[in-house]
Symmetry: C2
Subunit: 313 residues, 2 copies
């Protein structure tokens, strides 16, 4: 569930646009006003505000924000204000251009979004970059990573509740056989992880655990230094327990010597409207500190205020 809070009665997009324009006017910028509006409008409402603002003032709201704001606060406001599909397209493009084997953003987008939302990301990617997402991912990666990432970003998984138990058993065995032989990049492992529905995969991994005595992610920890093995574990985590995956991204971002603001910004901006409630619960369970306390301790000023508004603190 989302942590975004939207007032019961909201001003019209015209009023919101005017208020934002006022916030940009004169000496200094009224950051509080910007937060009070944008951090409390859902994606459809923000889209309308952006349209109205562009029609009224002849400038993209994002450009105005870009001119007025700076540093981490600018980062979160811009990322948040974007349409979710466009935002994911930008994040995926950035991750693709700067790709390194320990970058998890492509995996994260491919595996934690719904099938339909991933299609929207691919459409937004066409519109923005004049290429396809899978084309860029394929061109910037090689070897085992390409073999895993390209089908993940191209997937359109079935999302119904059906489970084929016979299939779950036989594919648990296929996975176990290959993992036992350390053939982590085997075609069949890639096929199963990149094409089966999340519900079906959950059944398969349960059978794996029951039949072979370990969670599959545990058996995939053979070599902690192996980046590809880590990517396979991340894939499984993103597909089945996204709240645990995001909790860990937040934990590492916050606990790092010098907070990783971009990771913090990314998770809050992309999940506030989706499942931030579960992520906050998971964070508290795992760290015995509420997420808002942790954020207060690590950030400050308008950036802090925007993060807290989005996580519903």
């Amino acid at each position: 569930m989302a942590t975004l809070t939207v007032p019961q009665s909201i001003p019209s997009p015209t009023e919101d646009s005017e208020q934002l324009r006022n916030a940009f006017k004169g000496w200094g910028t009224n950051e509080g006003l910007i937060i009070s509006i944008l951090a409390h409008r859902n994606a459809a409402q923000r889209k309308l505000i952006r349209q109205t603002y562009a029609e009224t003032y002849g400038e993209d709201l994002l450009q105005s924000l870009d001119k007025e704001l700076s540093s981490d606060f600018e980062g979160i406001v811009l990322l948040w204000t974007l349409d979710p599909a466009e935002r994911d397209a930008l994040l995926a493009n950035e991750a693709t251009r700067k790709w390194t084997s320990n970058n998890r953003v492509i995996l994260e987008i491919a595996c934690t979004r719904s099938s339909h939302d991933l299609l929207l990301v691919r459409q937004a990617y066409h519109a923005r970059f004049k290429r396809s997402l899978e084309e860029d991912v394929a061109a910037h990666t090689t070897g085992d990573f390409r073999k895993l990432l390209v089908p993940l970003v191209s997937s359109y998984r079935y999302e119904g509740p059906e489970v084929n138990v016979t299939l779950a058993k036989s594919e648990a065995k296929i996975l176990h056989n290959n993992i036992s032989e350390k053939a982590y990049n085997h075609d069949e492992i890639i096929r199963i992880l990149t094409t089966r529905s999340k519900t079906q995969l959950n059944a398969t991994f349960n059978h794996y655990n029951n039949e072979f005595g370990n969670a599959i992610t545990k058996d995939l920890k053979a070599d902690p230094e192996d980046d590809f093995l880590a990517a396979v574990r991340t894939t499984i985590k993103c597909l089945l327990t996204p709240e645990k995956y995001f909790e860990k991204v937040l934990r590492l971002a916050i606990n790092k010597l010098g907070t990783d603001e971009w990771a913090l910004t990314r998770v809050v901006a992309t999940r506030a409207e989706v499942d931030m409630k579960q992520i906050k619960e998971e964070y508290y369970r795992r760290n015995s500190v509420p997420l808002d306390h942790a954020i207060k301790g690590d950030t400050s000023g308008d950036y802090e205020a925007m993060l807290l508004a989005l996580i519903g603190a």
Copy 2:
């Protein structure tokens, strides 16, 4: 361009449904009436007729047709009446279940449809089969064919007019190097064919021809017995010159000892509303016989009449 002809003023879906119901009534079926209606309505109109028919008579029009008609005539009427995305989903599923290395239907659907239409096929596949298209293709194929077919059915190619000339040159070279070394299943060949836009690929193949003296499809004819090599050639043909690909399917279907009715039915039903005009021109160019003459010589009765109506004879 399409060969489908729709009258300037058409009856309402209710009138069409009534007429179809009349055609099914009493002794025998009025096949001529069925052809005069269904063979002259576009996809949107057929969809409305199907909806109206189901609401009025409590039965799917396809079920009624299935009960009333038989053999090849039944085949073409059913396939034609289906929604294009649903029809492709059915054809792809049939080809996947009965997959053999010389079956070209999956390739044909993946490479001759627009990016958007291929997404619609994948959505229709979910709705109908409770699995994803790429999931079934991956599960029913192995080795090099899987490596080629899964990304093809998962692709969402960019369709803008942009061409990157530098890229076309460098990728023509990559293709040539691998083809020279007979590494036809090389990751880079698969990557280029499965992710680049059709416009970009066209530029790449032109550079290939200019730089290395042969059309790429010629260099891919090294071993005429190799099914995978044939599949790579078919991929290129379907992507860039679908009218030539379909002309050949029709030619082989008609010239075969005992016509291949299912291939003939498939091409006419899937292309009448798309590019059958170009296919007919290509057929005449290649065979010096108009397609309608060839069809008249090889088929008969209602099946013949339906085919001729759809190809605008």
